[in-house]
């Protein structure tokens, strides 16, 4: 749990900035029967990123990386909207469910493809998924015919833009997926196996773990998360944009995972940290809009905050800074944390 202290502290600091500089930031009210406020927005717009980052966490835990999630986001959204646009009645629940099924099925198939390239063919993950990252954008454009497909479907609208029990529906989906991942990785042995494969794939295989199959499952699951995120993003604006949907989300997701304390070298992961990391990124974005940072300096501002966050996250950096500030205190905390063994 101590590992989560830093990301949590950073999130609190960001929120404090808003408390001081932005009026009404913490105000949450009920409007039209659902919760309404800046904090709710952070969850609502952060939900797709959290999902993608959760899938990415598992991939990174196997010492891999998945650059193709942004393209999968675009493909899933495009496929679902295309199917719905051909329905005789766009409000038919069966038709919408069918469209969602086709879109998610396609996403999983693409993920299996990634896993196959990584596990069976043995291509390095960054290259294997780069293929789909580039080709997938083209595929999404092919599906949408290069146009923005606009739909008008209330059931589909629910996924990313709707509310259930006053809560944004996207948050509920994220909570369910998170609970599911947490259960199978922390209560069952799967998490240990994933970490083992990430630590040393060959040793894991020799000790009887079917690492190839496991890798394929992990990549397929990551693509499924990206697919659901794609449905949310396209549903939120009731349209599919093959060119821009999910653009650069892979980078935000990797950043969220890293901020959350998961090592890019594989072998260990933190789901809670990833959720916090994704929330930090979304809070930062919302903060920029609320504070009115000029668009020309937005990227620089973001980069500065991320740099500070990463420095604070680095045990080596903290050890140095704290040693120089409080000379008498021995650096036991960072050093101790470094060797903490997860159970």
């Amino acid at each position: 749990m101590k590992r989560l202290a830093w990301p949590a502290g950073i999130l609190v600091a960001l929120l404090l900035v808003n408390l001081i500089f932005t009026d009404h930031f913490f105000q949450i009210e009920i409007k039209d029967g659902h919760l309404y406020g800046s904090l709710i927005d952070i969850f609502r717009f952060g939900a797709p990123l959290i999902l993608v980052a959760l899938g990415m966490t598992l991939v990174i835990a196997t010492k891999g990386i998945d650059l193709s999630v942004g393209s999968v986001v675009a493909i899933a959204g495009a496929m679902a909207c295309l199917q719905i646009s051909t329905l005789p009645s766009q409000d038919s629940i069966g038709g919408v469910l069918g469209a969602i099924g086709i879109a998610l099925g396609l996403a999983v198939a693409l993920g299996v493809g990634n896993g196959f390239l990584v596990a069976i063919v043995g291509i390095q993950p960054i290259i294997a998924t780069l293929i789909l990252m580039v080709a997938g954008r083209g595929l999404a454009q092919l599906i949408t015919d290069g146009q923005i497909i606009t739909i008008n479907s209330d059931p589909y609208k629910l996924i990313g833009g709707g509310y259930w029990l006053t809560l944004p529906f996207g948050i509920i989906i994220v909570a369910v997926v998170l609970a599911l991942i947490a259960f199978v990785t922390r209560r069952l042995a799967l998490g240990l196996l994933i970490e083992s494969v990430g630590g040393n794939a060959e040793a894991s295989r020799l000790s009887g773990i079917r690492s190839h199959g496991l890798l394929i499952v992990v990549y397929a699951f990551c693509a499924l998360c990206a697919g659901i995120a794609g449905l949310m993003i396209s549903s939120n604006v009731s349209s599919a944009d093959g060119n821009n949907a999910g653009l650069w989300i892979e980078l935000d997701a990797i950043l969220a995972v890293v901020i959350g304390g998961t090592s890019l070298a594989g072998g260990r992961f933190s789901l809670g940290g990833t959720v916090l990391g994704a929330l930090i990124i979304q809070t930062l974005t919302t903060t920029i809009y609320s504070l009115g940072v000029p668009p020309e300096t937005t990227l620089l501002f973001k980069a500065l905050v991320v740099t500070i966050v990463c420095l604070l996250q680095s045990p080596a950096f903290r050890a140095k800074v704290f040693r120089s500030r409080r000379k008498p205190a021995p650096p036991t905390v960072p050093a101790g944390e470094k060797v903490t063994v997860r159970t």
């Binding site: 009404h24 717009f45 290069g146 923005i148 604006v237 349209s239 821009n244 609320s290 668009p295």
Partner: protein, 330 residues
Amino acid sequence: MFKKIMALVAVGVLATACGGGGETTADGGAPAASGGGDSTITMGFAQVGAESGWRTANTKSVQESAKAAGIDLKFSDAQQKQENQIKAIRSYIQQKVDVIAFSPVVESGWDTVLQEAKAANIPVILTDRAVDSADKTLYKTFLGSDFVEEGKKAGQWLVEQYASETGDVNIVELQGTTGSAPANDRKSGFAEVIGADPKFKVIASQSGDFTRAKGKEVMDAFLKAHPDIDVLYAHNDDMGLGAIEAIEGAGKVPGKDIKIITVDAVKDGMQALADGKINYIVECSPLLGPQLMDLAKKVLAGETVPDRVVTEETTFTQEQAKQALPTRQY
């Protein structure tokens, strides 16, 4: 003159060759028809791609007006890649077309290929987007929208609408992709017009990347940070459409509680305008085909043309949108 004769001969050979087999030429037999009279103009057009409805309408306009003007059009789609476009232009030079027209994917890096066209004595017309080249003799003219003017039109409507208003008018702005020409120019044109009256206050201005998703996200943040927004100015329809969803989610009525001005006039935007959710749209027309064909003929006839030709564009109010919507092409 020699070139024209050669072109005539080539066309004649082509017509006879094709006529024997009973086939039609790619452009519907136009060369054969005009073979006896004046020579047919061949135009090579290198399009950016098909990235949006706007671009598709642009392509269609060029193709249809070429047919109407009896110009033989060779069309290529660069799929948003400069190297494809350069390849296409080189092949047009080899094919010895009469005139080359293209919408540059990016602003820079065109000097070499444009020099080649100039050396081959083929005039070049830029459409929609400009190139960033010091040598203005590399192309004959640039036909496209004036983004500053679009911003000004948006500002003028606002000034007229709020002429009798005495209190402050709080405006939020959704900018296009930071650094892009349409975003910069639409912002400055708008600011220039409303800057004359201090009651117009732009209280927030952020980039929405020209997309619906970002438009919605940014507008949601604006609505929370500024409870007193009177007007939204979005640099394109898509961001405005996203913002409409955010405004509705905040329990306000788009078009009434918050007045909305956008630029582009694509079909979805026009529909929202006709539905009363948008108040005013400044057109950024992709239908520049007829003007392009006209310019091409003038250039080939040796007439002087202005360096900069602005696309014929209009503006739409809600009433005008209702009338225009049934015949809207894009």
